[in-house]
């Protein structure tokens, strides 16, 4: 996937408040909760994280055909991701270069030409301004009015990322060990490809967006927040009932802000992560054996998918892919879609869909409760605010590749997020 360096578009806010002292708010073992509520911090995050670093946009499978497009947000910037006639993927700001209207206000569709509904300016799929009504009245050079693109677009394993910063690092540098996590996701498909066309469910949280990665890679809360789930459902999470010494799951800080819960240490049988016996999905296993051989297939179907967060907005949530959308300091939305596997039997993907509904989304058996917890933290983070304690595991975490690993209940993962966040927000990174 080539980078696009033309029409570099870096958002610069002239009146930015640069007085935030992140080093005083983010310590190794605690962070200040005002980072969730302060509107200056929110705007600063848009600039430094969403407009100057790599951010996930969408997946190649969402725009298979020429003219297919999807509309998303990168921070507060509305964007379009589309497939050109030549088969390339482009990303544009969803903003007409005439008077700034939204070009598309539908989430997805197909178009041969991008036409603005305000004055009828028309753009090609390649982003060029190709037409307008009453053209004699416009005397500037049309070549200067093509749709704006981020400085960099790149993809890994079908996951498309953009970076508005022309001087940023390469995507592979940003991802680092997270590339293995994407490989693991793709490796569950007999063809090595996933399909994210199963529909997007959107759950609104009256909380800051940073609560979403905090919650999704926190292993300590599950016994409490999800106690009702453990009582009503039989699942792979039954391991939560074990004593602290017996728990085998781990949390991992991969570095670069990428963090994970690793549940696979507890799995000894295939498909524990899907809650099904191997005999019931033998057709899927046969396809996987044909693609990868029996031994490798067995390894993969025991290990299962990752439960990992890729900084800043992508969550590989077991059999789901989720995107975190920041809306305002106290408002965020988690999108999720089931991890459908290309080449897998339809009945297998149906199981994935059912599990997706159970785990994530507004009525999920898990996430509905996480949202309310996040909302309560947000209320408590207001007023005089306070410190969030993140010391668990400092004395027992150990090296893991270029990162750290610790007991499932430790805050190694949370610290990994905050240290990378601090480095980005102070400009060290």
């Amino acid at each position: 996937m080539s980078s696009l360096v033309d029409a570099a578009h870096v958002a610069v806010h002239p009146e930015l408040d640069t007085s935030m002292d992140y080093n005083s708010l983010i310590k190794r073992d605690r962070v200040h909760a005002s980072l969730y509520t302060n509107p200056h911090v929110f705007e600063d995050e848009m600039q430094k994280i969403f407009y100057q670093g790599w951010v996930f946009v969408g997946h190649e499978s969402e725009i298979p055909n020429a003219g297919d497009y999807i509309c998303r947000m990168i921070g507060s910037e509305p964007i379009i991701m589309l497939r050109t006639k030549a088969g390339d993927i482009r990303v544009y700001s969803n903003r007409c270069t005439h008077r700034g209207n939204l070009i598309f206000n539908q989430e997805k569709g197909n178009a041969k030409v991008l036409t603005c509904n305000y004055h009828g300016w028309a753009f090609s799929l390649e982003g060029a301004l190709i037409g307008m009504p009453y053209p004699k009245g416009f005397t500037k050079d049309r070549a200067d009015f093509g749709l704006r693109s981020p400085a960099n677009i790149d993809s890994y394993g079908g996951f498309v990322f953009v970076n508005f910063n022309p001087q940023g690092k390469l995507l592979k540098e940003h991802l680092g060990p997270a590339m293995n996590l994407i490989d693991r996701v793709n490796g569950l498909s007999p063809t090595g490809k996933i399909n994210l066309n199963g529909g997007w469910v959107k759950q609104q949280f009256a909380s800051n967006w940073k609560m979403l990665p905090e919650n999704d890679t926190d292993g300590y809360h599950a016994n409490f927040v999800h106690s009702s789930f453990l009582k009503a459902f039989r699942s792979q999470y039954d391991a939560l009932k074990q004593s602290e010494e017996d728990r085998k799951s781990r949390v991992i800080d991969f570095g670069n802000g990428h963090i994970a819960i690793e549940p696979s240490f507890i799995y000894t049988q295939p498909f524990e992560w899907l809650g099904v016996e191997e005999e019931r999905v033998s057709d899927y296993v046969a396809l996987m054996n044909h693609a990868y051989g029996q031994e490798e297939t067995r390894r993969r179907v025991i290990e299962g998918p990752p439960h990992a967060y890729i900084f800043p907005n992508l969550f590989l949530g077991e059999m789901n892919i989720a995107i975190f959308m920041p809306i305002a300091p106290g408002n965020s939305v988690q999108w999720h879609t089931p991890l459908l596997l290309e080449g897998a039997p339809a009945s297998f993907n149906t199981r994935v869909i059912r599990q997706s509904e159970g785990a994530m989304g507004p009525s999920a058996f898990l996430l509905a409760d996480d949202a309310v917890i996040a909302e309560r933290t947000h209320i408590a983070a207001g007023g005089l605010s306070g410190w969030l304690e993140l010391a668990r595991g400092l004395d027992r975490e150990s090296p893991y590749g270029t990162g750290l690993i610790s007991h499932i209940s430790d805050e190694t993962s949370n610290r990994g997020f905050w240290q990378h966040y601090r480095a980005v927000m102070t400009g060290e990174n």
Partner: protein
């Protein structure tokens, strides 16, 4: 694998003149039943609400209008009877924090259309507006609106729900925690 349990929908554009009406008495009975179901759901009386369901009931909250096969696309909720039973069990633990305390709620039902199906069951469409006071976290008054579609049948003479599809008008957009029974 569960089979697709969506009953044939009667297009609402088909008028009563083509299909026929139920008797006034039956209409009155069904409307009363819908109000009872609404009241039990509003008051979070889950176990009593569950007694109004058939053994094979399907409860569906789709994305959008739900004009797709839920075996192939995700929904907000798609519970067969067994999963719905576990959902209620989870609520009954008293530890489902998304509904601790339960949200005070009242829903209004309107535009109630009742059609007889060829198999003696009844197809019901109605609009609803539900006001929910989110006491668990935000303490805000939240509005839910949309359409309910029911299939009703008689079990030993008593009305039961074998299918309930709830299409929220905003289901394709961000929806907050929805741990109660719509």
């Amino acid at each position: 694998m569960q089979k697709n349990m969506i009953p044939e929908a009667i297009a609402p554009a088909d008028t009563a003149q083509d299909i026929g009406l139920v008797t006034e008495q039956e209409r009155s009975e069904i409307v009363q039943f819908l109000y009872l179901e609404a009241r039990l759901a509003d008051e979070s009386r889950y176990e009593e609400w569950e007694t109004l369901l058939t053994d094979d009931m399907v409860y569906w909250i789709p994305l959008g209008n739900g004009d797709y096969d839920p075996q192939h696309r995700v929904s907000i909720t798609y519970d067969n009877r067994r999963r719905l039973k576990n959902r209620i069990k989870q609520l009954m633990t008293g530890e489902r924090y998304a509904q601790v305390p339960v949200s005070p709620m009242r829903r209004l039902l309107s535009n109630i259309e009742i059609y007889p199906n060829s198999d003696e069951t009844r197809q019901v469409y109605c609009n609803f507006v539900l006001h929910e006071y989110r006491l668990q976290s935000t303490n805000e008054l939240c509005t839910w609106a949309g359409q309910m579609q029911y299939k009703l049948q008689r079990v030993e003479g008593k009305l039961k729900i074998s299918y309930k599809k709830v299409t929220l008008i905003n289901s394709t957009g961000p929806v907050p925690s929805l741990a109660f029974i719509l």
